[in-house]
Each structure stands twice: as C-alpha cells, then as structure tokens.
C-alpha cells in the first residue's frame, strides 16, 4: 500500500444516503446520484473538478467561499455547487466565461489579504488556495496590498503539535466546522464579523482553550493557517503508507506520511472504516516516542538486577534466556515458566508467543493483559451470546436511538468513537450514562445526558438488575424476540429471579446510590427505544462482579430485542489497540485461538498436527497465579512481551515481590519500563511503525499494520519471539507475518477467510471471515446467536468485599485521560504531557473540606494494601464519597493502593473499587521515595551498560 504522496481525493461535500436516485447532466456528462447529493460532489464523482475552497467532504456544505459557483439552465444567478442539490434533469455548466470572471474576481479579493510568500510557506505544494488561484488563472491583484489586511496577525504557537498562523486565514470556517461536526468539541469559533471575522479558540490561545488537539481543524485547513509543526519543520512528505494506530481499541486507520523512513505526519485515512478520516491527539500527533532517545535498540542481559546491563547480540541474548528457561524447567518442572503476551503487539506476534508457550515451553502458562481489562467481556458474552466480542460496527451508532454508556468514558479513552457518538447525540439520540463520575458526556457543549445514574463504585450489577426489573415488571420486554431467540427455560427462571421485589430500584437504592425514579425512567427510555445500544468499558469489567455485569448487560439487550441488527448491540470499548486480537489469538491459559477450550481433543489435535507437538490439555496459570506461584517459588521464569505489569497490575507491592522472586525475567519492550527494571534479559521491541502485522479493534475489525521504517533493533517483535523460540529448540521459520496469518486462518474457523491479499483489497475485515462470510461480518448474531439460543444468566448482586468503612470511608476509582495512554510509556515520551504532566486526585469539595484539603495539596491515599500520594484537584465530577485518579505516571503508584480483589470468574482485578482514606500530607509516600530511588538506580545500570557484542 505504498503510495506516492498526494492529498486524498476530496469530493467537496459528504456522501448522501438515499434510495432515490436523480439524473442530471454536468458539462455534457450524464450523472446519476442519490437524491440530496450536491452538484459539487456529483461533478467530482465523474472527475469534473469544480474549484472550491470552503467545501471539504468531511463537513457539511457551507457556501461561503463563492468559488464553486456554477450555471444551471433555467435558474437565476450563479448557485454554489456545494449547497445546491442535484435535481432530476438538471443541466449544469461548471466552466463558462462568466463563471471564470466571478471566480477570478473572488480570488482577487482573497489574495488581496494574503501574504505572497508561497515559496517559503510551509504548505507550499499542498495548499488549496494556491491550487485554486492557479485554477482560476489569477494574474494580478489590482487592489494592491496597502489596504486593510490581516498580514500582521500574530501566530499562536502554544499547541506543541501545530501552529495557528491567522495571517494566512481565508475565514472559510472549515476548522470551526471540523471542530463542531467532526470532533464535536466546539472549541473554535469565528470571532468578530465582516472583515474582522477571525478564527478563535474562544478568545484564548489554543493550549489554554477547550481544544482537545484532535487535529481535525489542521486536517481541514486549506491553507497554511493551521499546520503541523512537523510539516513546518520538515516540509511535505513524499510518500505515504496506510497503517493502523497502535493506541486505543478504536483502531483508526492512518496514512503514515513519510520522507524516506521518517514519519512526517500521521493523517487519518478517510477510507478507514473505524475512524472515517478522524483521529485524536494521540494517534495523529503522539508518534514521536517511536524515535525517542529512550528507545533501547540493543538486546541486553544481566545475571542479577543489581548488575549493570550487558549489551549483547540477539543470538547471545536469546541463547542466554533459553538456557536459563530450560535450566529452570529441569530443576522446577515444566510448569515453572510461562509468558505474558501483549495486546499492544500484532495478532501474529501474540499468536507466536502462545505457540511458543504451548509448543516450546510445553505448558499452557500463557496469559495476556486482557486478563486485567476485558477478560470478563470474553467470559460474559461467550456465556450469554456465544461469542467473546462486541456485536456491532462503530458506524452502527449512527442508527441508534438510545445509547447507554456504562463504565466507559469514550471522549477521553476512545475519542474517535466519542466523536461519532456525540454526532449521533446531536442528531437527537437519547443518552443514559451509568458512571460514578460526571464524565464529559453527561454535560458538554451540545450534549446533555437524558439520565445520569451516578452508581456507587462496585454496584453495577445492582443497577443492571434494577433496570431489568423495571423492564420485566412493567412489561416493556420484547416477548417475541425472547421467544424466538432465547432459551426459554433459562429466561423463565431468570424472569422469576429478576421480578422479585428485592431486585427493584427501590430495594437496591441503598446499594446503587441511584434515585429509583431516575433509574426507572432510564430503564423505560432504553426499553422503549426503537434501537437501543449499550457501550461499556473497564468501569464494568474491572470489578469482583465484572463478569456478572457483562452478563447483566447482555441480558438487558436480549430482554429488549436490541441485538442482531444495526443501531443496537452490546459494545465493549476495548482498552488497547489489540485486546480483541490478543484474546482471539489464544493467549488465555485455557483457550486455543478462536476461544476453543483446551479440553477439546479435536481442536487440540488440529494444533498438534500443525505444530508437530503434543499439547498439555490442562489449562495453565493466569497472571495472578503466576505471581502468587513466583512468590511461593513454584514459578521462576517469565517471558513478558510488551506489557508493563509492574505498573499496570494491581497491588504493586505484591507484583514487585513476585518479579523480584523470578530467576529469569525476559522483558521485550521498546523502553526500559517498570517491569524491565526487574529483568535479566531485555529484548528490544519494535514500535508499530517498524513491523508488518494486524490489529483487531473493538468492532472485531482486523486492520493491517504496515512497516514504514526499519526496526531500530534489527528485529520486529515476531522475529524476536521466533529467535527465542528457535533458541529453545522450538522451531519457527516464518519469512513474513502473512505466513503466520495464513497459519492462524488455517487453524481458526472464524479466521478461515482472512489473508493479507484480502486485507489489502478490503482495507480491513471484521471477523468472522470464512466461507459463510467471505468479506467478514459487520453485525453479529443476526438470525441466531453464535451459541444458538441466547442465554439469560443469573446475575445475583453480591457486594464486593472492598467496602467503605470508618477506617477507609472513601471509594477510589480510576480511569484514563485523553492525552495520556495507559501506563504512559508512549505518551509520556511525547509532547502530550503538555496537557497532563501528572496524575491528580479528583475529590469532591465536601470530602476535601472535611479533611482540610485544598486544590493542589499533597494528599495521601491509604488503602488496606498501600499508600501513595498525589496532588488534589477539587472537582464536581465525582460525588461525595468517591475519589478518582488516572494511572498514567509510574510515580503516581495508583496500583500501590489497589487490592488483590478480582472478578470471580476471570480474576480480572477490581481496579475500579478501592476503599481508602485520604489526608493532607507534606510529601510523597515511602513507596514513591523507594520507587524513585529504584528507578534512578536502574537507569544508572542502564547507562553503565557495557557493549559486549
């Protein structure tokens, strides 16, 4: 998919969906388009280019530039082709002497207030004003340049990624409209009127405005007014490669725009089905980490973590690791080693790691970071619907009438989907937010949730049960759907259970903390919606009853018939770029790729035949089991790829003890992360820019990741795993990740049809993709559920043991922020930190006042397992009794306080509920002091690394 650089084709106005077609004639060419299509788009579709400036196909027509005027037979005047819909029989001319004169006249006005510095302008060669001036043939500006102008307007360079140069602005409002229509933030406006009209970020500079730096405005700008700083510095790219973002589970498609192997700009790809040309501050701008000086590019080994690292060859490093792993197994048994795969890596890489464990280690001690995020989704959806995946496409939200967002914060954590959702909400869809916090969706410009249910942390199941109770007892359920699609007996039993008075909103109010009348109204709204969709995130899964809550969500959807078509469904918002894929690839200790249980001999034999080994039918250890066993001395060798368990897993003291107990820890990562500080072998990883492969996003979409630069370490991650496997005697000989995908497709029914050539052809594929669905499946469970009949699982509410009491009166919950990503390893190494330098503790004014805490004070947070210290932010987003923080910075130690509690079914940690006390303190905690010391020491040991190659 290497392409010479040229801007993507712009049809001027958005595509229109209509069953009615209209025919017309433009410049002698007959056209037929859906009714409502603009003359401009219709012309563009047949290759007729009408000059334009204010129109672009990502936002609605505006009609302000007056360059795209045309002549229409029988019509007075010169209508703008962007705002004029094609009508049956219309005869249009786009080039006449009169039009030429008007266009030239308008262009002359534009240029009379524009600097004539094209040759030194950052967008020289990529400027629509320049192109259009050429098209209309402007040769002189008779007005001169002494008149009123904006040429001295000052630049705003406050945003780290782009520059706003109003002297080049033509006031086309594309940026303002992109901010409104595409992003939905409404940070930009036009200030003043007439000639004084100017683009403004609300009267302040960009960095201090409401701008979320998604870059949609920069993308939309036809001139050099809003330009990426990388373009200003480096000039325009010379070629581009389509690839997939490696941040969140939205999985946006990007064009990596390059000069040689240097990424100049990441531009969201308009044909990318997950994002349709939109991006966020992370995906678009925060790619600089890939070439950050902190990158470690050489393999390293050491005997003990108190020693300096030795830089060695790949061969020596994997040999060192293999020798130690085999020695451990000889002494402590086959099960004493294991691996953790990464949902940051590609499917092919994850697949190889689990293959290495099962075929090379000879056990099933493979787990993945989905354990700590969406394992309950896998379990809950598999149990009720039969497939461990979301049911829809992202685009499905455009047909939704009522949206429930539960325990998810899309505008921060899945921003591009957040923008889609906001767009639908602005069109009139109703919104129910179930979240302890007043997230942005509860109330933001042009968005107001119809109901916000501020559930007490830990009481999700109670809320879901109460909603189901209302729907059942008020007879709002879809009897026909249930009769046709669901197991009758299970439903009857469940119905009796849920109809009990004990499940009513009133009876559960004490637990939920939600006003019963509000809850009832919300339940009615969802039940009565023509199309109701539920979107949920880690605020649902990361609980002791995470799996129960997922099943409760599936129950609600089945109960109301909201499955099996567009606009409805159960939609897990996946945290990382490839959580779905990592799960699909069989990186759970009990499942082979495609969620097939190890105990199934037929499946096992399939893999045994392909891999030429005998597989252990017993499930291996989950991550928490590995750590417990490490402390017990039973588990001694761990291969950890692309995951920072030391920072991300709960109860840091426990994790650190476990890591410290390992005889051999092999860490594969692009940076010396927190976990690597406990490692004996460091295998340098490759960023998503350095390898080929695929990611699978939250809508089951398999998207290609394409290599645009040579791996800094010489090996992509799949090559590193392969080298390690071969050193262990587990032979692997893939020449390209496509061969790995071919193997996956051979062995996995839901992937049977997937191949790289098909991905190249279609751009992306939603699984299942097989003979039954050769181009993939956009909506799941259309005629029947994957498991046959839908299953109403019992969802008894069992309060978590992690309860507030006199000693720990507050409940701490955690989440993400837009500009940082997860453990922050990537985003902290970009200028994104301009927005979020440190994690803060959000606390309600009432709780703060009781404790004498003021904005900015150091606050100690003490739980049953540990203490950490953060600066306070007084906030109305949390209610009294609940406090909140993010976990992007290692020093914050958010997981020092989180506990070992976990989901009953999957061991997913209960990150979202920790009973704590907070108090004003004067300095960081003892753990933080130790962490800082350890961190400094490990960096010294890295700096002392000796070349031993």
């Amino acid at each position: 998919m290497l392409q010479y650089y040229e801007p993507e084709k712009d049809f001027g106005t958005p595509e229109v969906q209509s069953s009615e077609m209209v025919s017309a004639n433009i410049d002698g060419v007959s056209i037929q388009v859906p009714a409502g299509t603009s003359v401009m788009r219709a012309a563009s579709l047949v290759g007729i280019k009408v000059p334009k400036l204010c129109a672009t196909d990502s936002v609605d027509a505006f009609g302000s530039c007056r360059i795209c005027l045309v002549e229409i037979a029988g019509r007075r005047g010169y209508p703008a082709s962007c705002t004029t819909p094609v009508e049956e029989g219309m005869q249009v001319q786009t080039q006449t002497p009169k039009l030429a004169k008007i266009r030239k006249g308008v262009m002359e006005l534009y240029i009379s207030d524009h600097p004539l510095d094209c040759l030194t302008c950052p967008t020289n060669g990529d400027c629509e004003l320049q192109d259009t001036a050429g098209e209309v043939g402007l040769r002189e500006v008779r007005y001169g340049f002494e008149g009123a102008n904006h040429l001295a307007a000052e630049k705003d360079e406050s945003n780290p990624y782009f520059t706003f140069d109003p002297s080049k602005c033509i006031v086309c409002s594309r940026c303002v409209r992109a901010c409104e229509e595409t992003q939905g933030t409404f940070a930009l406006t036009i200030e003043g009127r007439g000639f004084d009209s100017k683009v403004s970020a609300g009267g302040v500079d960009f960095i201090n405005s409401e701008c979320v730096s998604c870059g949609a405005c920069v993308d939309a700008c036809p001139t050099a007014t809003l330009t990426e700083n990388s373009i200003i510095e480096l000039g325009i790219p010379e070629h581009s490669v389509v690839t997939t973002c490696a941040y969140c589970g939205v999985g946006c498609a990007f064009r990596a725009e390059l000069k040689g192997e240097q990424v100049v700009r990441m531009t969201p790809w308009k044909d990318g089905k997950a994002n349709e040309g939109h991006a966020c501050v992370k995906g678009r701008f925060a790619f600089g980490y890939a070439t950050h000086p902190d990158r470690i590019t050489s393999p390293m080994i050491r005997d003990s973590i108190d020693e300096a690292w030795r830089k060695v060859s790949w061969e020596e490093a994997v040999g060192f690791a293999a020798k130690r792993f085999r020695a451990i197994q000889e002494e402590h048994g086959r099960n004493s080693i294991g691996a953790i795969s990464s949902s940051r890596c590609t499917n092919e890489e994850v697949y190889l790691v689990q293959k290495l464990v099962r075929a090379g280690f000879g056990n099933n001690n493979i787990d993945t970071c989905a354990r700590v995020c969406h394992s309950p989704t896998g379990f809950g959806l598999k149990t009720t619907l039969g497939e461990s995946a979301g049911t829809q496409t992202f685009a499905s939200v455009a047909k939704t009438d009522v949206v429930i967002v539960m325990g998810a914060n899309p505008t921060e954590a899945h921003p591009v989907f957040g923008s889609r959702l906001k767009k639908r909400l602005r069109e009139g869809a109703k919104l129910i937010v179930i979240d302890p916090r007043k997230i942005e969706l509860v109330s933001s410009p042009h968005i107001l949730a119809d109901y916000h249910l501020p559930v007490n942390p830990g009481a999700n199941v109670a809320v879901l049960n109460a909603m189901a109770h209302v729907i059942v007892t008020e007879n709002l359920h879809d009897i026909e759907f249930i009769a046709q699609r669901c197991e009758e007996e299970a439903f009857s039993q469940w119905q009796v259970f849920i109809a009990q008075e004990s499940q009513s909103p009133e009876a559960l109010e004490q637990a939920t903390g939600v006003d019963p009348q509000t809850l009832r109204a919300a339940a009615r709204l969802y039940a009565n919606a023509p199309n109701g969709a539920i979107y949920y995130g880690l605020g649902v899964t990361e609980h002791s009853q995470g799996s129960t809550a997922v099943m409760g969500i599936a129950n609600l959807a089945m109960l109301t018939g909201n499955l099996g078509r567009e606009g409805v469904g159960v939609n897990p918002m996946r945290g990382q770029n490839n959580v779905q894929g990592a799960c699909d690839m069989g990186s759970f200790p009990h499942e082979l790729p495609g969620y097939r249980h190890l105990s199934d001999a037929a499946t096992r034999s399939l893999f045994e035949k392909e891999w030429q080994v005998t597989l252990d039918p017993e499930p291996g250890m989950r991550i928490p089991n590995m750590f417990d066993a490490a402390i017990d001395g039973q588990f001694r060798g761990l291969y950890c790829q692309g995951e920072d368990v030391a920072q991300s897993d709960p109860n840091t003291h426990h994790i650190e003890a476990a890591l410290g107990s390992l005889e051999c820890l092999v860490v594969q990562d692009i940076f010396l992360n927190e976990t690597a500080k406990f490692a004996h072998v460091f295998l340098p990883g490759a960023s998503f820019l350095e390898k080929d492969g695929t990611f699978i996003n939250a809508e089951r979409r398999i998207s290609p990741v394409r290599r645009v630069m040579t791996p800094l370490s010489g090996k992509a991650d799949w090559e590193a795993t392969m080298a390690f496997a071969n050193a262990l005697g587990c032979e692997m000989n893939y020449q390209h990740p496509s061969e790995i995908m071919d193997e996956i497709a051979r062995l996995t029914p839901t992937f049977h049809g997937v191949s790289y050539p098909l991905l190249d052809k279609l751009g992306s594929i939603q699984w299942p993709c097989n003979d039954a669905a050769p181009e993939g499946t956009s909506t799941m469970h259309v005629d029947e559920f994957v498991r046959g009949k839908g299953y109403f699982a019992f969802t008894e509410y069992v309060p978590t043991e992690e309860r507030a009491n006199r000693r720990f009166p507050l409940l701490l919950t955690t989440g993400r922020i837009l500009s940082q990503y997860n453990v922050g390893a990537q985003t902290r190494r970009t200028q994104n930190s301009a927005w979020h330098e440190e994690d803060l503790l959000e606390i309600h004014a009432h709780d703060a006042q009781e404790r004498g805490i003021n904005e900015g004070d150091w606050v100690g947070i003490q739980s049953r397992v540990g203490t950490t210290v953060l600066h306070a932010r007084i906030s109305e987003r949390v209610k009294p009794g609940v406090i909140y923080t993010t976990f992007h910075h290692p020093v914050s130690g958010a997981n020092v306080v989180t506990t070992d509690n976990s989901d009953w079914a999957t061991n997913c940690p209960e990150y979202k509920v920790t009973a704590v006390q907070v108090s004003k303190v004067s300095e960081p905690s003892a753990w933080q002091a130790r962490q800082q010391t350890f961190d400094r020491r490990q960096h010294q040991l890295l700096e002392q690394a000796v070349e031993d190659v």
Binding site: I102, G105, L109, V171, S173, R193, G194
Partner: protein
C-alpha cells in the same frame, strides 16, 4: 361629558418631547383641578406633527401639534371654540389632508388609543380576522392569503400565500412562525410604529399564520434598539395570553399558539431571514446557504414561516374583510397597500400608507412638503441602504415592485430617504460600501472582503487617483459582489453604488 387627552408614547414622539408635553399637560390639568385622563396612545405616524396632543370630548377629537410643553397650558386655558384659532390647532386628524390622502388598512388603528388597551382593539374590529380564521380549515386560510395577493413586506416581496402553502404542505408536526422585527434599514420605522401603536394586530396575524400552517409556536425577533416596542409587545403578549388569544385553546378552540419575544443584539444582517433564524437559535447571526428554504428547514431545522411585521399585520385585515377587498387595491402584481416611510431631508416626515400604484413624485408632493433644508431635492433612496439612488428623472416611477425593478430600483421595506442638492453622491457610494463592510456577517468573501476593498477603491476615486482604472475596478468589484455574494447584503450593495455612478456622474468627475 367624557374628556380624554392623548399624547403618544411612541419612540419618535418621545424623542421630540412627548413626555415633556405630557408632563406639562398633567401639571396644567392639576392646576385646573381636572381629573380627565391622559392617554399615552401610539403615534399616528405623522412625525412632523409630533408631539401631537389630541383632545377628545364626546364625539369630537381634535389635534394640536407639533407642541412645545410651554404651549400646553395656553391651549387648555382656551375654550373649545377659541382653541380652533390656536396656531397649533389641526382639527380632526382624519380630515387633515396628510391623513385624508392616505388609505390605511394596516395602520388604521395606529394612534387612536392606548396600544395595550384590549377593549379598544376589540372595539375597532380587533380579532375579527382571527374569529373568522378559527372556523376555517388551514387550506382555506392559506388560500385567502394567496388570493389577496399579499407579498412579503420585508423587502423581497415573495408571495406570502405561496410561502405559507409550502410550510403547510411540509412534512412534520413541529412548525414555527418567525416574525422578522429586526427593522434595520436606515429611514424605516413602520414595524416599530406598528408594534408600539397596535401590537395586538401583529399578534393576531401571527396566530392566524399559526392556524394556517399548523404551527403552535411563534417568535418575534425584535431588534434591541427598540426598547419601547419590546416593552409594549411584551405586555401585549401577556395580556393577549391572559385573555385567551394566545396559549392553549385559543378563543376556547382546540387550537394552540404560543408566542415568544426574542431580542437581537444589534446586527443589521440578522434582518436577513436565515441569519435571523441562526440568531433565534442562539448562534452567531450568520447567513445560511439556501436551499434548504426556511419554509422547509427553518428554525431548529423545522418548516418555518418567516415574515416581516407588516406582512403578518396585514393578515387580520385580509381575513376580516376578505381577499377580494384587499386585492382590489393596488395594481398589477403589487396588491393592497404600501407603507412608505418618509425620512431623510424632508419636511413632513412620517408614515404614509396607500395603495400601490401612485408615483414617488405624487407621494412626495402630496405628503413630503419638500426638503427640510428648503433646498431642492436631488436624490431619493428608496428601499433602504441597499436601494438605488433615484434621480428626478425616475421619480415618476409608480410604486409597484415590477415597475421599480424595471427602473433599476426596489421598494424594499418602503423606506424613502430624501437628499437635497448638497449631497455628494461619491460619498454616498462610498457609504454604501462602508455600510456593507460595517454590517457584513463575514461569511462570504465577496461581501466580507469586497466591501472593504470597495471602500478603499471609493477613497481612491474620491481622491481622483487613476480614475479610469479605479472606476473599472469598482465595476468589476460590483459585479463580483452582485453575482457572487451569498445573500442580498453583498448582492445588493452594488445598487446604490452603481446608481450613484450612473445618475450622478458629475460627482465622480
């Protein structure tokens, strides 16, 4: 014997001293020991006679004006017969030639009584049109309006019946009536006068419009420069609501109509209907591209009737007296009455309502009384700041939309601004560009940048710099603005510029 004194509360009357006259009157009456009421009526629109005092006793009502406060006591001191000799004595105003020459339909009630007096409104055929409309199906109301030939009085002169029918036929159960009361044309005041002197008539017209198209909510978009109109309309809406003419179950029927008054923020462009809708929605007053037509996708994206105050205020008359009676007035496709507002350098300024068809010269001669300065008239700008400057050779053009258009002018909202022979038409041409620059919403380029460049080019022309090139450039610019602008603001700005150049070339030489 009932005795009443009437002094207008109208903005213009107050501006020229009506409050002081009223105070003097109160004082004089107190000294006399009289408890006769002083009614603060609306103005009859003869601003050249304001402050106008009317004394009504039994069947006789006579006027005095324009008055100084000091003159009041003197008049009161005279007996009724002697008052007739007073230099300010005007007699019965209906018989005064300035009024007798008019044919008032829309302004028939103006100035007759306290504008908020509902009884007075009812006594003078108020709500007759509504009573009639309440018994008609929507199609019949629309048909009546269509047959009356009523055209939009805001300036574009679009047939009201056709617009109403579009809204009536449009799908959707939520529709709106939006009254454009953002009267921004220089020299115009008819909307304000109507709202300040006969507010119920506008309310009645809007309720009928609601019945006709199936709208249950109306908005009046009033310019913020009209605080008195705001106060009166506000109170009138409240009283109409209390009396059952607005709100749920109008006149005990099953029909509902709610009316809300919204205040503008001082932008001329918000008189443009789509910019007004944007402003009503709480956004910047920016012009929208058409299509979609507001009749199909207007306020909040719903089918909307957008009509000027005078258009809606003509409705009660049409419904009460019938389309035929209305259409019997006027000529050609310009039917009913036109409301001219005589202003500028004129002796007898004020509001003149009469059937379409008279010539401009007839009106000026019959009502204008020459220039205020006493110098000869030289140019007349009809139709607001975007209207052409007409030289004497065109003053015989009949007041008829088509005739005016043929002469290169426009009737617009009926503003007539008179200039004497001291006017510099080059400066006036520059002013047209400057006005556009001042009031442009800034959306489209021909208007936003063109108007600024136009002022600059005019400056060079006035300074006689490279006249040939600059005049050529000006003409090109006018063409770009006329053909390229998004709305009439930029599109019509060339009118005054070109007419000044064409008819008064000596001022540019």
């Amino acid at each position: 014997m009932t005795l009443r004194y009437l002094i207008p509360r109208d903005t213009t009357a107050v501006a020229v001293g009506a409050n002081e006259v009223a105070a003097a009157l109160a004082l004089a009456l107190a000294e006399q020991g009289s408890d006769a009421p002083i009614i603060r009526n609306g103005s009859r629109g003869a601003f050249w006679l304001e402050p106008l005092l009317e004394i009504e006793s039994n069947d006789e009502r006579v006027g005095f004006g324009p008055l100084e406060p000091e003159e009041v006591a003197g008049i009161l001191a005279l007996d009724p017969v002697a008052r007739k000799e007073h230099p300010r004595y005007l007699g019965k105003l209906e018989e005064h030639p300035w009024f007798a020459g008019q044919q008032r339909l829309t302004f028939a009630r103006s100035g007759l009584d306290d504008p908020l007096c509902l009884e007075s409104y009812l006594a003078r055929h108020g709500f007759d049109g509504l009573e009639h409309a309440l018994h008609l199906p929507p199609e019949d109301i629309v048909d009546e309006v269509t047959r009356s030939g009523l055209r939009g009085r805001g300036g574009a002169a679009f047939p009201a019946g056709i617009k109403w029918n579009t809204v009536l036929q449009a799908a959707g159960d939520e529709k709106y009536i939006a009254c454009n009361a953002d009267e921004g044309d220089s020299g115009t005041f008819a909307d304000r006068l109507l709202m300040e002197s006969d507010p119920y008539m506008l309310i009645e017209g809007m309720v009928i419009a609601g019945l006709a198209v199936g709208a249950q909510q109306g908005y009046i978009y009033l310019r913020s420069e009209y605080p008195h109109a705001w106060e009166i309309m506000h109170k009138a809406i409240a009283k109409a609501e209390a009396a059952g003419y607005l709100g749920e179950g109008i006149c005990d029927s099953d029909h509902h109509f709610h009316l809300e008054l919204r205040l503008g923020a001082g932008a001329y462009i918000c008189g443009e209907e789509t910019a007004m809708l944007e402003s009503l929605e709480g956004r910047r007053g920016m012009v929208r591209a058409k299509p979609p037509l507001p009749a199909l996708e207007g306020l909040f994206g719903k089918p909307t009737v957008v009509n000027n105050v005078l258009t809606l205020a003509a409705i009660p008359t049409i419904m009460a007296d019938g389309a035929e009676a209305y259409a019997a007035l006027g000529q050609g496709r310009s039917l009913g009455t036109i409301t001219l507002q005589l202003a500028g350098n004129i002796k007898q300024g004020g509001l003149v309502e009469l059937p379409y068809g008279a010539t401009l010269r007839q009106v000026l001669e019959q009502f204008g009384g020459g220039t205020r300065s006493g110098k000869p008239m030289r140019a007349i700008q009809v139709g607001g700041p975007l209207g052409a400057y007409l030289p004497e050779s065109l003053w015989d053009t009949p007041l008829d939309y088509e005739a005016f258009a043929a002469a290169g002018g426009m009737l617009g909202h009926g503003g007539v601004v008179v200039f004497d022979d001291t006017v510099d038409m080059a400066q006036q041409a520059r002013f047209a560009m400057a006005f556009c620059a001042e009031e442009s919403c800034g959306k489209c380029t021909p208007c936003r940048v063109g108007s600024i460049r136009g002022t600059e080019v005019m400056d060079r022309i006035i300074a006689r710099e490279a006249p040939e090139q600059n005049l050529g450039l000006l003409e090109d610019l006018c063409e770009t603005m006329e053909l390229g602008s998004l709305c009439a603001m930029g599109g019509l700005t060339p009118n005054p510029v070109r007419s000044a150049l064409k008819y008064f070339p000596e001022d540019f030489a």
